[in-house]
């Protein structure tokens, strides 16, 4: 009892920081429940991924292998993981609440008949979990019953696991997948190309809203600031809906949750759904021409100004600072 299986998502042959976050959260949960953390990687060819994963101090790494695990698809992955959970006797299955984690884990929970807590932000000593509800306006203390429980963690709420002194043993398992019942087909992935840091991992995030007025202005006005600051770029829903920027830049209750050291909101009013995705940032700065904008109620530093004047000036000021 008390063992935690951590599903570690990989992207392009690597583990993003969000997966290392799941490992640390899984280790914390296992420790509080008197069990051990076991990391799981699933792929058609998991060997090198498994040896990478083994560096991060889990009791064991399980490499689930099957041709059907080549591209991520919910039905095949849920089948493979459910069989592993049953044979391992683990009490918890945990993953990060990424797009993949959100898609997969409820399906797995249903397969196991297990309850699921989404996007937890803390683990109490007694094993109860804390998760935000109502766009972060309430923090719920959650208790789950049953032999197996499913959990996703919010990436910004936990640190990333660090490499341990010695690698964990790797166990390769041929996944149990009934091909006939795996009925989804992967067609294509249209990747948003960007050389900038990933939104949820960046130390600085600069986000733009409807105030930018066009996709062109994102490029000519906001991007120079983003790049001068070495930041990741984010956006409000209004900017994404208007087609100024791609969907995966949306910060908020129903987009990505970020908590960088510095969040700069430009031309964003600060609707509750947006605040839900950034209010845990360490320092918040806001530029808005409306001094009554709600974003100023959470900003450590607010500048009431026209962004089309202020942002180019800021690019120059940051440049000066770097030169001095």
């Amino acid at each position: 009892m008390g063992d935690v299986l951590v599903f570690a998502e990989h992207q392009q042959g690597k583990f993003p920081k969000s997966s290392l976050t799941a490992i640390l959260a899984g280790q914390e949960l296992a420790q509080k429940r008197g069990g051990k953390a076991v990391a799981v990687v699933a792929s058609d060819n998991p060997d090198s991924l498994a040896s990478e994963l083994a560096k991060y101090g889990c009791a064991k790494v399980v490499a689930l292998a099957h041709p059907a695990l080549k591209n991520y698809l919910a039905d095949a992955h849920a089948q493979a993981l459910a069989a592993l959970v049953k044979s391992s006797g683990a009490e918890y299955v945990l993953a990060t609440a990424t797009a993949m984690g959100k898609d997969l884990m409820p399906r797995l929970a249903a397969r196991l008949g297990a309850p699921m807590a989404s996007e937890i932000v803390a683990i109490n000593e007694d094993g109860t979990l804390i998760r935000p509800m109502y766009a972060g306006n309430a923090l719920a203390t959650i208790e789950m019953d049953g032999p197996v429980k499913v959990v996703t963690v919010r990436a910004t709420a936990f640190d990333a696991a660090k490499p341990a002194d010695s690698p964990a043993p790797v166990e390769k398992v041929n996944a149990e997948i009934d091909g006939a019942s795996a009925r989804m087909q992967f067609v294509a992935f249209n990747q948003t190309k960007s050389d900038r840091p990933q939104l949820i991992e960046a130390r600085i995030v600069v986000s733009g809203g409807r105030g930018l007025k066009s996709g062109d202005n994102f490029k000519t006005v906001l991007e120079p600031l983003v790049d001068e600051m070495g930041a990741a770029m984010g956006a409000s829903r209004a900017a994404v809906d208007a087609g100024f920027v791609p969907n995966d830049l949306q910060v908020g209750q129903t987009g990505k949750v970020v908590a960088p050291e510095l969040y700069v909101a430009v031309g964003i009013s600060g609707a509750i759904q947006h605040l839900a995705g950034m209010k845990d940032s360490k320092v918040i700065a806001a530029i808005n021409k409306d001094e009554e904008a709600p974003i100023f109620s959470v900003a450590d530093y607010g500048l009431v100004a026209d962004l089309f004047k202020a942002v180019p000036e800021m690019v120059q000021e940051v440049k000066k600072l770097k030169q001095s």
Partner: protein, 249 residues
């Protein structure tokens, strides 16, 4: 095509939510109740599919209290054909809700079930995926485009780092993301017509599903309040304080 759309009643996203002092729930005295915004998008998508194909039926389904009739009527006024209300006053978890919806699906035999990706009150993002597993159907969550060719469905999904396309045969589950469509408003004639449409109540206990919640909310707490900061006078000052005071650049 027969389309089932599960609908949840939630506080209007524009309402400020406050936790009750005893932590037992949220204050509901000034709350306006609406259809979960993602479910409105689901209803809209179902109506468009029916309109495009020139035939079919859009059936709404909710698991909740008597008061939820209001939101089902709104959905009927948007253009849905009929509605089912699985009546219960119990606090259910997502597993029980998905099980009840699965029972309805076995009975109604829809070709596709379109749900919201998440309810904006509990923010769980679970029911659609659970339902897909219970029925053994394919799932396409976070859809921003849905297309059909006979019984084959192709969905573009909003995922980390871009857009993913997946394909599968019906029956299947789709959950909506914000960019899928812009929901219509109920028209006055729509509202008049909706009064006469069928809204059938089914007692939850009659469906033979174990409703005992495995997940319980022990209490709610308000989040820690963020101290409002101060205004700065110029861009120069902003960059200076971020460097010297906050030490983040």
């Amino acid at each position: 095509m027969k389309i089932l759309v599960p609908v949840k009643r939630v506080p209007d996203p524009a309402t400020t939510i406050r936790v009750l002092p005893d932590g037992s729930g949220i204050a509901t005295d000034n709350v306006k109740w609406v259809i979960n915004p993602f479910d409105e998008i689901a209803i809209e998508e179902a109506l468009r599919i029916k309109e495009k194909q020139g035939s079919g039926e859009v059936v709404l389904a909710a698991v909740g209290q008597q008061s939820w009739q209001e939101q089902l009527r709104t959905g009927l006024a948007m253009g849905a054909d009929r509605a089912l209300l699985v009546r219960t006053d119990a606090a259910l978890d997502t597993l029980a809700i998905a099980r009840l919806l699965a029972k309805l699906a076995e009975d109604q035999k829809p070709d596709i079930i379109i749900l919201g990706k998440q309810a904006i009150d509990d923010d769980s993002n679970q029911v659609g995926q659970m339902l897909a597993e219970m029925l053994g159907w394919p799932q396409a969550t976070f859809a921003s485009k849905v297309e059909f060719q006979d019984r084959k469905c192709t969905v573009v999904r909003e995922v980390d780092g871009g857009l993913e396309t997946i394909g599968f045969d019906l029956p299947a589950i789709v959950t909506t993301d914000l960019r899928l469509n812009e929901p219509r408003y109920a028209s006055l004639p729509g509202i008049m017509k909706a009064r006469k449409k069928e809204l059938k109540e089914i007692p939850a206990e009659s469906l033979g599903v174990d409703l005992t919640p495995k997940l319980k909310i022990k209490k709610l707490d308000p989040p820690p309040k963020r101290q409002a900061g101060r205004k700065v006078a110029s861009v120069e000052e902003l960059v200076q304080v971020l460097h010297n005071e906050a030490k983040v650049i």
